[in-house]
Symmetry: C2
Subunit: 131 residues, 2 copies
DNA sequence: TTCTATTTGCGAATCGTTCGCAAAAGATAC
DNA sequence: GTATCTTTTGCGAACGATTCGCAAATAGAA
């Protein structure tokens, strides 16, 4: 593991929510080039250390977000107002995916799920939260 | 409804699977500019006539795909080899989403789900299918 | 340490998408 | 129908996220 890859994996692993490539580039602006960050993320994803999903929000545009692969595969909720993620817990789609792949004769290798809306805090406040 | 918007809605409505903005631009290359296609899609989505999701595949990159909103909200499977979509049928996530939004106090306004892998035909053949 | 394979930084390119602006098309009022 | 006001369009340029090519730096093996 090179220094860049170690830094990126540590950052993703210690984060409590998914981080975008852009956030990681900002975080390591002084240490690593953005191409290096992107390449480290590809490497780590190929190795199975991190996984990613693409999410669009009006405020931040379309970006890929990364989470460490520790324990069970998880899904996330993204708040449209404060832009924080909420962990929805371990994937509950195994049965559904098993059923549908049998019904339609599909070999499902991966799936993406996420939900968006307002988190608890943002439902209760009219103030604009930080981005 | 202008001519461009009508054309785009007709194309999306008559398609049996999601169409990307790029496919629509190609389809109407002689009639409408790509900016017009994108603007028509935004208009139709705002109006609730179509809905979209973003999907990445190694072959086609990251693109937004559009489907007509007729009847129940649906989800799709995308084959990594032949790049065709399979309709997974009406959304079966209502209970799950209800449970998780209650558990975590989230106001879920929308969700995205799709699966990828190999379709039935591609599991049974080693030949490369058309893109 | 020396040698070789791999990774990095830099800048430019790519791709999907969006913008600004002037011309064209629609809608409304005579 | 014509004048007038509003909306949409086409065009070209810009945009933001991501990727590329290549020479310099680094990591690993011997
Ligand atoms: Mn956001
Ligand atoms: Mn594809
Ligand atoms: Zn929030
Ligand atoms: Zn297939």
């Amino acid at each position: 593991m090179t220094k860049a890859r170690t830094h990126v994996l540590e950052a993703v692993s210690s984060a409590s929510e998914p981080l975008s490539a852009r956030q990681l580039c900002d975080l390591f602006r002084d240490d690593h080039d953005q191409a290096t960050i992107y390449r480290a993320l590809h490497y780590l994803e190929g190795k199975g250390s991190v996984e990613s999903f693409i999410l669009h929000c009006d405020c931040h545009g379309t970006e890929r977000y990364y989470v460490a692969r520790a324990g069970a595969h998880r899904h996330w909720f993204h708040c449209e107002r404060c832009h924080r993620f909420t962990d929805l817990g371990p994937c509950r789609f195994d049965d559904l995916i098993g059923n549908v792949s049998a019904e339609k004769r599909l070999a499902i290798r991966s799936h993406t799920f996420y939900a968006t809306g307002l988190c608890g805090a943002c439902q209760n406040s009219e103030v604009d939260a930080t981005h």
